[in-house]
């Protein structure tokens, strides 16, 4: 019954074995949560606490052994879960959750303040109310929170944002003229909007794209024009929002494998794009592998990174990068010749 954990989600490293204090912290939150939800299914509790159902059962088995001093039957916490539903009792001493810790208060307060500043958020009133209650309840735990700030950019897509919100509220389909910078091309498409999200300082419209027949993310500042159509914009039932917590770019297993050597000045690339592996190299650089269906954006990234990055594999991509750079440099050489006589 050692702390067996489900594999962490992408981007969320979880230690292989859980410390006693982090488990204690979960138990102290789980008890009040369960007391207020008698008969809840083990699976639901597991989802809420981001652990496996087996871990919830192990936690319940542990609770069952604890209680007020004495150690007699009537002193111990009562826990029952054989039916797959959880019933908890005799846990009055820990029926209230522990106060919010500094990081817990901070995360919510800083998050709410950032939300309050988002343009066009429909729930500003609820944000203000929640913030006031939270600040009153956390007291000293939130003392330094004003010195930690998150500015969620409005970016340059303000107009598209307002229109996208209108379309979402009215459940209308939209027509987009959209710039695909990875391929440097302007495209036209009809989209059923699903949500507007911010990610890495950019706002995106997520929706069902009728051209791709799939869910796509459109960066608001790259939308050249957005027209609300007089057509129902309910996305198909199969349209699932992407799990953004594993990154905006979701690679597929059958995508091409690319290996790139990064210099220290380009080490940020391994944080920014989803990688299959990162091997640190001498001097602060790294060798990364990643999967991608489309290498156009990678070519462009390589030109931009200059001497800070080299494609190791595949050889064709390395050659394309070189040829593009050569062609560009030739154009510069030619323009230098043409500029010189006149200037």
């Amino acid at each position: 019954m050692s702390a067996k954990r489900q594999p962490g989600r992408v981007g969320q490293a979880r230690p292989a074995t859980e410390s006693a204090t982090s488990r204690l912290s979960r138990l102290l939150t789980m008890v009040p949560w369960l007391l207020n939800r008698q008969g809840v299914e083990i699976e639901e509790a597991a989802r809420e606490f981001a652990v496996t159902p087996a871990q919830v059962e192990a936690d319940l088995a542990l609770l069952f052994l604890c209680g007020t001093p004495g150690g007699y039957h009537g002193d111990l916490i009562e826990a029952e879960w054989e039916s797959g539903r959880v019933y908890l009792g005799n846990a009055d001493t820990i029926k209230r959750p522990l106060r919010l810790g500094v990081d817990e208060a901070l995360a919510l307060i800083v998050g709410l303040r950032a939300l309050a500043a988002v343009p066009g958020i429909g729930e500003r009133d609820a944000v203000v109310r929640a913030l006031a209650k939270l600040e009153a309840a956390t007291g000293s735990a939130s003392a330094g929170s004003s010195r930690i700030q998150v500015v969620i950019d409005e970016g340059t897509g303000k107009e598209a944002m307002a229109l996208a919100q209108q379309a979402l509220t009215a459940r209308r389909r939209v027509h987009l003229r959209y710039l695909v910078p990875g391929r440097d091309e302007s495209t036209e498409r009809d989209v059923d909007p699903m949500r507007v999200i911010s990610f890495d300082a950019h706002w995106y419209l997520e929706g069902w794209c009728h051209r791709a027949e799939d869910v796509r993310l459109f960066r608001l500042d790259r939308i050249e024009s957005l027209t609300i159509l007089d057509e129902d914009g309910t996305p198909p039932a199969t349209a699932e929002p992407r799990d953004l917590d594993s990154g905006v770019f979701t690679p597929h297993a059958d995508d091409q494998l690319v290996r790139v050597a990064l210099g220290p000045g380009a080490a940020w690339v391994s944080d920014y794009y989803p990688t299959e592996s990162v091997e640190p190299a001498e001097g602060g650089g790294a060798v990364i592998t990643l999967r991608t269906a489309d290498t156009a954006w990678l070519r462009r990234l390589m030109w931009r990174l200059g001497s800070q990055a080299t494609v190791l594999e595949p050889a064709e991509l390395a050659l394309e990068v070189q040829q593009g750079a050569r062609a560009a440099l030739d154009a510069y050489a030619a323009s230098a010749r043409s500029i010189r006589p006149s200037g």
Binding site: A50, G71, L106, A130, S186, I197, Y332, A333
Partner: protein, 333 residues
Amino acid sequence: MRSQPNASDKTERLLNLVICLLYTRQPLSKAKIRDAVPQYGTTASAEAFDRMFERDKDELRDLGIPLVTEPGDVLFDDEPGYRIDRREYALPEISFAADELAVLGLASRAWAQASLAGPAAQALRKLEAAGVERDDASLIGIEPRVRTAEPAFEAVKKAVLERIPVAFTYRTASSGGVAIRHVQPWGIASWHGRWYLTGFDRDRNAPRVFRLGRIEGEVATEGKPASYDVPVGHQPKAMISTMAVERDPQPAVLRVRVGAGHSLRRRARTVGDVDGTWSQIDVDFTDTEAFADEISSFGPDVVVDSPSELRESVIRRLRGALGPGPGSEAASA
């Protein structure tokens, strides 16, 4: 059940200790605690118990549990007693409406990919423990996300909150050189997707802004918590936006291949056709290196005519991308 490994035993011991100290009305002496918590009863000696109890006490306090020591001069023959203050322990009764919980959920999920993901989720569970279910239907699909990709984030955030002076190796943007900087941290802010630190630079003897992404290696603490004051009403956001103030835009003249460079064309002041292959555009920029990054990413589709500083920056990148070898001096004109 008795064959559980140590981690589980320890959780059980700590939980029993918490319950016992919350339950008691009177502060309990160590001897009473050893009797009351079954897992302490099995310790080999009084010294072993003492060491274990001291560690446990510290760990509970680290979790934020208000375990208090009360002098027991009258009560327990000069022995101090211990208890947990119930009112200090418990989250105050706050009732959130369903729509308030929905925005709290949104605030919590904003950190889903950041280093505060764990505390953010835990905080929400505590607030929802009371049984109110959040009403996500009231949200109309607006979801902000924050990231903390910078390795220095945790250490710097802690130093800001506790007001501890720090030292770190910092890479300067302009020269690329590194130097050790000694700073009294004031605040941090995520601005345009990046985290910045504001504070008093003890080497420069002036307030400064640092980008967390340019901090290399460990952040060392250099003093005790609360060892300096932060200016009253300090707003990191305001300081960052004024100090990182953008320089005046300057004009560039670019040649852009027909059918390419869409993002540049959109921003251009004027666009004119040179011939069937090239357009010439006038566009303003503020940061040479950032604009050179963007332009070089177009490869052979965009050529800078002026200014020469921008032109050289782009050529430098393209030469780098070409790699070492014959012909890399092609544009050394």
